[in-house]
Structure formats: structure tokens, C-alpha cells
């Protein structure tokens, strides 16, 4: 009788050993990286609010008739000090999170009245500035038109009265711990009255 109990217990013991062998679980977790963080830097004394395109400082047609192009950003409305040149990019965006990000840009409101003649051109910096005379990626007619295509060092995107509030891709999949320089020209397409024409440009950075 005792023998039978002993055999039974030994059987249970080995069964438990087998149970232990198959139940040695590993919890596998697929984690979505979720620390989203970025920093925007400006050159010189330019900033979110101090970023001026002054017509009489433009490279082409630098006067006060409301018509000019190849105009680099200035640190004050009086002009005279640019924050963009061959060795300096006006804005640099850095991805400090742990997930790649896309960077889009658009204005927050429609251009109205004489502001319909405002044109902003954006292209990518070289990593060491904005190319020749700070205008390396400038095109008379910007060739990046598809909303999802990023700008490059030699091709720009136009923001004008036909697409100003539509998000247009500036940078695709900026890796973590990486930076991307952005360069600008604020052109005047004629008919602009004298004075200040402030419009707000917004860059956004959805996770890619």
C-alpha cells in the first residue's frame, strides 16, 4: 500500500518537473518608442519672432517697390544683419527623442490683401550652412511641389497664396540625435505696400 503511495508521489514529482520545464515563460514585449522631443535653434539674434525679410536687403531688385527676390532673413526689421549665409543656416531642427520624425511646414492663416504676393522658399542646408551666398538651394520656380516630398540642398519648396496653409514636407524621417538645417528666402512678388507684413510660419514634426 505504502509502495503504491510512494510510486504515486514520485509520479507527481516528475510531473511537476515536466510542468516546470514547459512553464518557464519569457514575456516578450513589443515596445513603441515614445519619447518625442525636438529642439529648434536659430542663428545669431534671429528667433521665432525676430525673422525679417527686408526688401531693400534682397539680392535681386533691392529697393522699396514691393518687388524683390533672393531675400535672406534678417535679425531686425531695419535689416543689415542676416542670420543666414554660406556657413550659417537660419534654423536648425534637432531630433532629441527616440523615434524618427517628419518635419512639415505651413502658414497658420491665408495670405490676404497685398500679402497674396508673399512667397517663402525653403530648402535644406548643407550641414555647414546654406550654400553659395546663403542661397544654395534657391530656385526661381521651386521644384518640390508634392506635399509629402522633402526639400533638398538644391531644390526648394514654395509657400505662396495658393498653398500657404497646406502642410508641406520639409524633412523626412529625421533620425534620433540628428539635425537638419533649413534655409529661407522671403520673396516679394510685386504690389507689396511699404510697411510690415507679418505672417506666422509653423513647422510641425509628426512622428514618421
Amino acid at each position: 500500500m505504502n509502495k503504491n503511495i510512494l510510486i504515486g508521489l514520485i509520479t507527481v514529482f516528475f510531473a511537476l518537473m515536466v510542468y516546470a520545464a514547459v512553464e518557464n515563460n519569457t514575456t516578450m514585449t513589443w515596445v513603441v518608442p515614445s519619447n518625442v522631443s525636438h529642439t529648434l535653434t536659430y542663428a545669431g539674434a534671429c528667433s521665432t519672432s525676430d525673422f525679417y525679410f527686408v526688401e531693400d536687403q534682397c539680392t535681386l531688385d533691392s529697393d522699396v517697390d514691393g518687388n524683390g527676390s533672393q531675400c535672406l532673413p534678417q535679425t531686425t526689421s531695419a535689416g543689415g544683419t542676416t542670420c543666414q549665409d554660406a556657413s550659417t543656416a537660419a534654423i536648425t531642427i534637432t531630433n532629441n527623442g527616440n523615434v524618427p520624425i517628419n518635419v512639415d511646414g505651413n502658414f497658420t492663416a491665408d495670405f490676404a490683401g497685398v500679402d497674396v504676393n508673399i512667397v517663402l522658399k525653403v530648402w535644406m542646408g548643407t550641414g555647414a550652412g546654406c550654400g553659395t551666398n546663403g542661397l544654395g538651394g534657391y530656385e526661381q520656380n521651386c521644384s518640390v511641389t508634392a506635399a509629402g516630398n522633402p526639400v533638398t540642398q538644391t531644390t526648394c519648396r514654395n509657400y505662396n497664396s495658393t498653398n500657404e496653409i497646406t502642410a508641406g514636407r520639409l524633412v523626412s524621417a529625421l533620425p534620433t540625435n540628428d539635425t537638419n538645417q533649413m534655409c529661407f528666402s522671403g520673396d516679394f512678388n510685386g504690389g507689396m505696400s511699404q510697411g510690415s507684413h507679418a505672417v506666422t510660419f509653423m513647422t510641425s514634426s509628426p512622428a514618421s
Binding site: 516546470a20 522631443s37 529648434l40 534637432t94
Partner: protein, 317 residues
């Protein structure tokens, strides 16, 4: 003979008793191990005992890897541990800027490298273990995490790799005016119209690394979110303070977001997005008056749409 039989039976019973005890111990052992597999709410761990072992990592090595230690508990204690005495940021800045070391404090408008972190609370002893739990996704019970933890920049993944460079690799041509981050930026939950209908979440919302300005922020749910959920955000209007040249005490906000699925919301998958917009005008005026050239609206320049904070909610019947 009968006595011998009795003795044999007694010995046999003793033997069986021993086996039963051993089996009971084995069963308890396995039951205990099974419990350890489950995910428990966040527990702030007691201070670990000193092992006296010398880590393999070299001094000044910013990145700590598991293979730096034979004992993994040591790795958990070290992975996120601030090693501020070993960052040597001013030495690196001097080399980068090619200026004498004694000029560096003045360059950063600080008295010493320690000033970078001197407005932050003391680092808890179990800081690295708690940060590691969160970073590896093992525990998302964020409510109990206090400012002694979340105000330390080392709490956030990638800080040592990405954040320290604003001191170690300074570029005087540029200054950071805007930027922010959220952690964990994406969260998940399952609600049920016949069961739990409410969610509660915590997100740490912080100033981007290297930012010198004060940024006014107002956090709102998207209009689409409000069709299906009632949402309460606290605080929803706040001022992000600088992280450069030193961390200020309000550089991170612990945002609590509570929500309730509306009764007529059909079952399905929902993405709840939150946006940063301009603060109310009276707050903007107040902050602009106080901080002048250093005040900016966080939303005007960089606005993570899709989204700075995203909740993926499954609603069941």
C-alpha cells in the same frame, strides 16, 4: 516480528513525510515564480546593498551597457544613474571652443558645472531602477512618480546622448528658442461600454534640451476626440521654463489626463490626439511682460501635430 513490522512502517511513514515536505516546497517555489511573471504596479525599490564589486565601465563613459556588469542588478542601478561628476562638460566645451577652461563658466553664465543641475531636487537612491522600469515598458503606472524622479533630465531616454551636447559641443552661432518633448508620448488602453468606461493617464511634458526661453503652452484635445470622449487635462495651461544654461525647476510638468467614453460612442479603435496651441491672451501678456525677449508661445514655431501626445483607445461593447 510485529514490532519489527511497526518499526519498518514508522520509518516508511517518515520517508513519505519527507517527500511530501519536499514536494510542498517545490509547489510553493513554482507558485511564487508564476506570480513574479505578472506585471505589478510601480514599486519604489529600497536602496540596494553595496556589492563592493568594481564595475567594468570606464570613468567618463556616458553610455552604460548591460555587458558593463556581471551582476544585472548593478546595471539596473547604473543605467539611468546621473553621473554628473563624470560628464566633464566644461572641459569638453573648452576643447570645443578652444578657450581656457577658466573662461567656460563665464561663457555659460554659470559659476560652475554643478550649477547646471542645482535647481533640481536631490536624486533618489533608486532613481535608475525606476527610470529603467519605465523606459523598458515594464511599468506604466506613472501616477506615483514624483518630481524627485521626473525633474531629473536623466529620467528621459537619450538625454545623455542628446541633451549633454548643448554644453559639451556648444555652438555660439546658434541659440535654441523652442522645443518640447513628451514622455511617454503614446499610450494605450481598452475601455468597455459595459465595464470600465474611464481612463486615467500621466504624461511628462518638458522643455526641449538646450532651450533658453520661456514657452507658454496650452494643451487641448482635438475636436474629433471630443466627439467620442469627455476629457479633462490638468494642468492644461503652463509655462515651460529653460533647460539652458541650467535646468530650471519648471522644465517638466506632470500632466494628468482623465477621460470617459461617451455613452453613444460605438465600439472600435480610437486615436485621441492632443495639440499644443497658444495660451489665453491674459497669460501670454503676463508671461511676455515678465520674461520679455525670452518669452515665446510654444505653438507658434514648432507644433508636433500627429501628435505630441497620442492615446490609442479600444472601446468594446
Amino acid at each position: 516480528m510485529a514490532e519489527a513490522g511497526k518499526k519498518e512502517s514508522f520509518t516508511s511513514n517518515k520517508f513519505l513525510g519527507g517527500i511530501i515536505v519536499v514536494l510542498a516546497v517545490i509547489v510553493i517555489f513554482f507558485a511564487f515564480n508564476q506570480e513574479n511573471i505578472s506585471t505589478n504596479p510601480l514599486v519604489v525599490l529600497p536602496e540596494a546593498e553595496e556589492t563592493g564589486l568594481t564595475p567594468i565601465y570606464e570613468k567618463n563613459q556616458v553610455e552604460i551597457t548591460p555587458s558593463s556588469y556581471a551582476v544585472r542588478q548593478q546595471y539596473f542601478e547604473e543605467a539611468f544613474k546621473p553621473k554628473r561628476d563624470e560628464y566633464d562638460l566644461f572641459e569638453k566645451a573648452a576643447a570645443r571652443l578652444q578657450i581656457p577652461l577658466e573662461y567656460v563658466p563665464e561663457y555659460f553664465a554659470l559659476n560652475s558645472e554643478k550649477d547646471i543641475f542645482n535647481e533640481l531636487p536631490p536624486v533618489p537612491n533608486d532613481f535608475s531602477e525606476v527610470a529603467y522600469l519605465l523606459a523598458t515598458g515594464r511599468n506604466y503606472a506613472l501616477g506615483p512618480i514624483t518630481e524627485e524622479y521626473f525633474l531629473q533630465p536623466e529620467f528621459y531616454p537619450n538625454f545623455k546622448e542628446n541633451g549633454l551636447k548643448y554644453w559639451s559641443e556648444p555652438d555660439p552661432k546658434y541659440w535654441a528658442t523652442n522645443g518640447y518633448g513628451s514622455y511617454p508620448a503614446e499610450q494605450f488602453d481598452v475601455l468597455s461600454q459595459s465595464g470600465r468606461t474611464e481612463f486615467y493617464s500621466v504624461v511628462f511634458f518638458y522643455t526641449g534640451y538646450g532651450v533658453q526661453t520661456y514657452q507658454g503652452a496650452h494643451l487641448i484635445p482635438t475636436s474629433n476626440t471630443l466627439k467620442y470622449f469627455d476629457v479633462d487635462i490638468s494642468p492644461d495651461t503652463f509655462l515651460l521654463t529653460p533647460t539652458f544654461p541650467k535646468f530650471s525647476k519648471d522644465w517638466v510638468y506632470k500632466i494628468t489626463i482623465q477621460g470617459k467614453v461617451k455613452p453613444d460612442t460605438p465600439a472600435g479603435e480610437y486615436t485621441i490626439g492632443f495639440l499644443i496651441v497658444d495660451p489665453p491672451i491674459e497669460k501670454r501678456n503676463e508671461w511676455a511682460g515678465e520674461y520679455r525677449n525670452l518669452y515665446f508661445n510654444a505653438a507658434t514655431v514648432i507644433s508636433p501635430s500627429n501628435f505630441p501626445i497620442t492615446f490609442n483607445i479600444t472601446v468594446e461593447e
